[in-house]
Every structure is written in structure tokens, then in C-alpha cells.
Symmetry: C2
Amino acid sequence: MKIAFVVFDKLTLLDLVGFYDPVTRLRTMGFLPELEWDICGLDKHVADDRGLWLRVSRVGESLSGYDVLFLPGGIGTRKLCSHRPFLDWLATGKNIPLKASVCTGALLLGAAGFLENRPATTHPRLLDELKAYGAHVSSARIVDGGDVVTAGGVSASLDLGLYIVERLAGENAMRRIATQMDYPYQPSPEMLLVCPA
Amino acid sequence: MKIAFVVFDKLTLLDLVGFYDPVTRLRTMGFLPELEWDICGLDKHVADDRGLWLRVSRVGESLSGYDVLFLPGGIGTRKLCSHRPFLDWLATGKNIPLKASVCTGALLLGAAGFLENRPATTHPRLLDELKAYGAHVSSARIVDGGDVVTAGGVSASLDLGLYIVERLAGENAMRRIATQMDYPYQPSPEMLLVCPA
């Protein structure tokens, strides 16, 4: 099992890290000892939307072959939604069986053509923009379309991470990781929309 | 107003970023336009506890002169708690009027001598270790001792960030930032212990 965490300039770092923390605990806490991941981008470094620099571990390589593709959001998505080299690169992940996003990361999934006729969500203020990509939009906090799972604004990253943990490794793993994370919250049933492909 | 975000090898990135996101929105959303911050460390780069590399923006300089000192936790704290050069460096922040930590970041505050006879918390499993530094430990999610505010395990970073936002800029700023972050949760009253110096 291998995850591609996609990064780019002016991403919102918490979109990424709120998901990365619970999901990578699948390996560090022993639930999926074979789990691997890369920080994937088109440049050696990216700076988040507030100036913090990260190193990209896999630069400019095809996204095919991963099992999970993750896209954070951030103001940087606005330019990338019409940036052909970036979208062509994302398209190399077309066959990844599970694609996930937080906040405006969904706009990138949309711009890459992955959301046509698929249920999806994004930041509550940007649902109309997401609709333009042919998505069936919902204001739920997490929308699980089977092959594509999208979440709302930045703080939904933790809930999405735990949701994907449960999909990949079951409820017991999710509960133990949430306890280790000292996370006392969970989305109420109406915050979740599940409509498999 | 200037914040020092301290980083070190094998930090838990979400401890940092869950706090950094709401607090830096004080500037990006216009509540404290003069707010500045640095990513402070003893090396040019640090790698988090799962291998992601960050760039340090202020390397090896004194921590005096900041208004807020923030310490994340992570497995890297265990070594640093007895690493004299690191503790000597932290001691340069002794006069910073507001010190804050998430998870095992509190152990670093303790090892630096900042928690003697002060109320504090850390990850629920490590309260006894924190006690060894002379802290009056509590299992509350956020413990506000006035000059030192500590929080529990990693997911408490968001709650602590919003709590500090409210302390620095008021309830309206906190509510607007929480809404922009799409954060539907808040700590219940019994998760919070306020005992000013």
C-alpha cells in the first residue's frame, strides 16, 4: 500500500498534515507495516501559503502505481486549476483507485477530470466552483464516492484522515489512532455522505 | 507581536501545524496585521517523526524578544529533555511572556525549567513524567496558567491555536477563524482549566 501526498506552492499545510498524521500512524502504530508514502511535487521544495518550506521527496515522477492519491487545498490551487503541466502530471494518477482531497484540493481533482458525475465536497464557500467541474456537490463534511473521497475546509483533514484509516484498516485501528491522537470529536452522522460508485 | 515556532528533529508535525494554522490566520485574515513569526531551530532543516523535511527560517539565534514561544511535541523531545545545548537555547526564551506547547512539547518546557510550580498538561499517558519537572499536572485538554498554556495530545493543537487566538485578539476573531477553518467542534468547559499566575 503506497500513498502519494501531492504538494505545491501555496498549499494550506494543515490540509495536508491533518490527514497525513492519522494515516501515516497506520504504519508507525503497526496496523499496516508495509505502508509507504511519498511527498510528491513538481519542484524540489514547496512553500506553504504562509511561507514555510517543505522538501518534496519524489519530484516530477509519474503518479501511476500508487494506491492512494491525496490532494490538499490552499490558495495555490487557483492557478493550478488551469496550469496544464500540473494537470497533465495529476492525470498520471488517473488509475489510482482511491483519490482524496481536503478543501480546495477538490478543485484540482475536478480540474484533472476526476470528478465528472462524482459526488464531492470542498470548502463550504466554494461549492459552486466545484459544480463547474461536473461534480454532484454536497455540503457534507466528508463525501465518500467510493473511488473519490473529499472533505470540507481545513479542519476536516483530521476527520478525513481517520475516515480513511477506518476504510483501509477497520474501526479498531481508527479508534486506537484517534485515542493516541487524543481526539475527542467525531463527525455527526449528518456530516457524512456515503454514495459508492 | 512576534511568535517563535520552535522545531527540532522528530517533532510531530501536526502538533506544530494544528496551532500554526489558526494563529497565523490572525495576520492573513487581518486581525493582527503586524503579526510576525519565525520557524526557529538549531539546524537549517529538521525532519519530522515520519521523515518530512522542513526549512528552519531562523537558525540558532536567541529566542529573546519574541512575544509568544511555541513548542510542539514528538518522539524527538525525549532526547532533547536532557540535551544541554538545546535546553540552553530554550532558556534564551525565559522572558517570553506567553509560552505554549502541545503534547510532549510540555516536557521541553519542563526540562527548560519553565514549569516549576506551574499548572500544565501533556499527552494523557505522560502526566507523571511532566510531574517530575515540578509542574502541577492536570488531565484537562488545555491548561492556561497565564504565562504558560499547555495542551494535550496532538489533536489538541487546533483547540489550543483557537484558544490563543481568542486570548490575543478576542472572541470575534476566534469565531471567524474557526468558521473559515470549517471547524465545528469546541472543547467542553471541563476540558479547559484556567488558573492564571
